[in-house]
Amino acid sequence: MIGLTPERIVEELEAFNARLTRGIQTLSGVGEIEAGVSPREAVYREDKLILYRYRPRATEPHPVPLLIVYALVNRPYMMDLQEDRSMIRGLLDAGLDVYLIDWGYPDAGDRGLTLSDYIDRYITHCVDYLRDRHRQDSINLLGVCQGGALSLCFASLYPERIRNLVTMVTPVDFHTPDNLLTHLIRHVDVDLLVDTLGNLPGGLLNFAFLSLSPFRLAGQKYVDMMDILDDAEALKNFLRMEKWIFDSPDQAGEAFRQFAKDFFQQNKLVRGEVIIGDRRVDLHHVAMPVLNVYATQDHLVPPAASRALADCCGSQDYAELSFRGGHIGIYVSARAQREIPPAIADWLLGR
């Protein structure tokens, strides 16, 4: 049953201790961990928002720009984490002209920002800036996770400004039975939360994510890390991911209030009942070509939550791209680099 001997145990413990001691030294000398590797320039700023243009890697990039709308949760450098793990680099290599909205870090002064501010003001201004800059009536939009939900709202309200829409690991039906985040927030008094805390602290979001799998994410992961402490490059990769995981901006209070209540608790997006500003979001108005990318092992946005879009959007040119992996792996795994950006680019360039 258990083939361990005291000698073997002592040997294993000694090896573990030795690795730990050496590892602490390695850690202290590893230096600053940088993430976000592709050259880019800020082309538009508004409040804390910065719109970046990534330097094209094709001599003549595609004339219709692609705007990436990332989630308000976590930071967008996940899309460009390191040289060999960059969704953005893959899109640039495929000849696209790539822009990304960096939402920045909301502070107490942003507590009153609403979803209408994010959609009717920030996204609208970025889209219009790009339409003007590239002399295009409409541009391509790629929404990631919660950014995908915001993009769907935008595409529903301003369909004429979007030529093609790509949604990536985007929740649409928040009440599928396997939706753990909805399960966790179902009984939270969101009004009390926002009225008490103002903005939602990023640390609380981290707790929610860790609490989905604490023995692995807060325990085993660090024990396994001991195995790579001698490998500076592997260690840097690990730390880069750690940096991203714990780099959680606070969430602007009013926007969080509406997102938590209308999307998570009341599932209004899929029912066409979300109101942004004074307008109703009807996904049937999303009539442009849509590519819906989801991950089959996504524990945060289950495939069914994403695939619900097929039944409620108005596009006659709707396609799905399935990735065998999880919510994070779809950005950073080696296979994702090979599969996802070329597939998105092919789909876009064909339209």
Partner: protein, 196 residues
């Protein structure tokens, strides 16, 4: 390259966090070492491994029972099960909500009660994980598969805990309780006062 100013990220890794996990892992290994040493002089066919394991797991259960902070508890061993509660407490403390004045004593009591129920639920999942681990070990024994490293045992332990914890997490009881835990904490803050 990214503008340094737009990524005021946290430190790369909290070394204390790493050391904490290492100490917890070592506490787990220490328990197993005691177990193995106790039976090292017995021939394999003289040991009722099922009984021996059950007795050993009882020690884990005792450690779990002590995890509420009774004297004599092994805090590192207890952390194996109470990690989620610890993470929660760290976050709750970061919100700046502390034991209130008399006016909010009832709110604080409600929060403490929810926290106690939360810990009970975690303990229940942990007990089920031990049962599952016994079962998995027995199945391996039947199949003639020996576990011959601490890490393998630890990984099995993690698998079992994730399994039973995941079941608990998906229950309506957990959804209600975790929501109540959060709501009761928030009610401890005087009305009209927000976190600066």
């Amino acid at each position: 390259m990214a503008d340094p100013a737009d990524t005021p990220a946290p430190g790369a890794l909290d070394t204390e966090l790493l050391l904490k996990q290492a100490r917890t892992y070592l506490a787990f290994c220490g328990q197993l070492r005691q177990f193995v040493e106790r039976y090292q002089d017995s021939a394999p066919n003289q040991v009722d491994w099922g009984l021996a394991l059950r007795q050993h797991f009882d020690q884990f259960r005792t450690a779990m029972g002590e995890s509420a902070g009774e004297p004599g508890a092994d805090p590192e061993l207890a952390r194996l099960w109470t990690l989620t509660l610890e993470l929660w407490q760290q976050n709750a403390a970061a919100l700046g909500i502390v034991a209130p004045d008399d006016e909010h004593a009832d709110a604080w009591r409600a929060y403490r009660q929810a926290q106690s129920q939360y810990l009970d639920l975690l303990r229940q999942a942990a007990r089920e994980a031990l049962d599952l681990m016994e079962q998995r070990l027995s199945e391996r024994a039947t199949a003639g598969q020996l576990i011959d490293s601490l890490r393998e045992l630890y990984n099995l332990w993690v698998d079992c805990n994730e399994k039973t914890y995941g079941r608990m997490l998906r229950s309506d009881q957990y959804s209600e309780l975790s929501g109540r835990l959060f709501n009761t904490l928030l009610r401890c803050r005087p009305q009209g006062e927000t976190v600066p």
